[in-house]
Amino acid sequence: MAYTPQYGPGQSVVAENRRKQMNPNVKLEKMRNVTDEDIVLILGHRAPGQAYPTAHPPLAEQGEPDCPIRKIVTPTDGAKAGDRVRYIQFADSVYNAPSQPYQRTYTEAYRYRGIDPGTLSGRQIVECRERDLEKISADLINTNLFDPATIGIRGATVHGHSLRLAEDGMMFDMLQRCVLEGGTVKYVKDQIGTPLDKKVDVGKPMDAAWLKANTTMFHSLVGTSYRSDAEYIEYIKRIHSLRTKYGFMPVE
């Protein structure tokens, strides 16, 4: 019988959301329409319309060595063209943000090729070839993986994911890369904090009910508590017990 991945345990809505995000057969919901040009502006790696700078000649011109692995693996568009490796980094508030660092890494690893995600406690970075990055970033920003208020696109100085939200519901950002204006969030600086010539609109913040129903984070005060998910507790206890006993005798 063919193996069907389960993606993760749990009966709660949080567990279900985690599985939906990870499962590449579930289409991510499109929530907003940030243009490619605007995404290039937020990323800040090149000017919109500028040709992609390259790190090496295109693979077709480079003369590849005779290698069985290269025959199996099709290069991504960015790799084929010899693009530089660039990044996007997110900080996700603990107050019911739709995604969170570990979840992002799992999701991206299941859904995209040619990426190098880096997971940290308060931020998650994903590196890949520049033109692939722009496509992936568009997915990460325009779908239900993103909320303009509780998720920040922050290349440096990311502090804020575990702080209380501001009065207007925005996550703290010491560089204030985005501001809430007339009900929509606008980026006024790129991800590293350089001011932008024009404001980039990333849409309305989602309301508290949507966030609670779509988050992939447990939170006992503002969301679903971890203890309320019996299956998750059972799973974590099993993992804990196996890891504890592993050095002695790895059998159940």
């Binding site: 100085t157 209380r164 501001a166 009065e167 703290f172 560089l175 204030q176 350089t194 001011p195």
Partner: protein, 156 residues
């Protein structure tokens, strides 16, 4: 040593505050007689971008504002989320709570009595102020900071 007999209380709000709200609550607190010292706390908002490729660029931020408390201008350098108060008597706490209820209408807050300010000098305090430090300065401002505390005109 600071006199540890003065009661202290801490106000923590559910949300980090806008400068306008901070101005409103501080003006309410400033007219309550018997508050000796107030410390406002929160995550810092730097003047310049501190890290990364944009390091050294100016950092425009709406939280970095000058507010007016009584007749005095106060430069905010943090996004305020906590207030520490030192009081002359404990009965003022109810007046402080009343002031908070009037200002913090859209979100909750908690007010707690206890000991929150430093009463003995740290090594850094000692290096800055020497052995005869003014006790009222301890725990009030960061000793490494060049700007001192703001003095509000007394109301009696």
């Amino acid at each position: 040593m600071a006199d540890a007999e003065f009661p202290q209380c801490r106000i923590v709000t559910e949300r980090l505050l806008k400068p306008e709200t901070v101005e409103k609550i501080l003006n309410k607190l400033a007219v309550i007689p018997g508050i000796r010292r107030i410390v406002i706390n929160g995550p810092s908002i730097p003047q310049k971008v501190p890290y990364g490729p944009a390091r050294g660029l100016d950092n425009p931020h709406s939280g970095k504002a000058t507010i007016r408390v009584g007749e005095t201008d106060v430069d905010l350098k943090v996004q305020v989320g906590t207030f520490l108060l030192e009081l002359e008597t404990r009965d003022i706490v109810s007046q402080v709570e009343e002031a908070c209820k009037e200002v913090f209408t859209n979100f909750s807050f908690s007010i707690k009595e206890g000991k929150f300010m430093r009463s003995t000098p740290t090594q850094v305090d000692y290096a800055k102020y020497g052995p005869n430090a003014n006790e009222i300065m301890l725990g009030l401002v960061d000793p490494k900071n060049k700007t001192g505390p703001t003095l509000l005109q007394g109301n009696r």
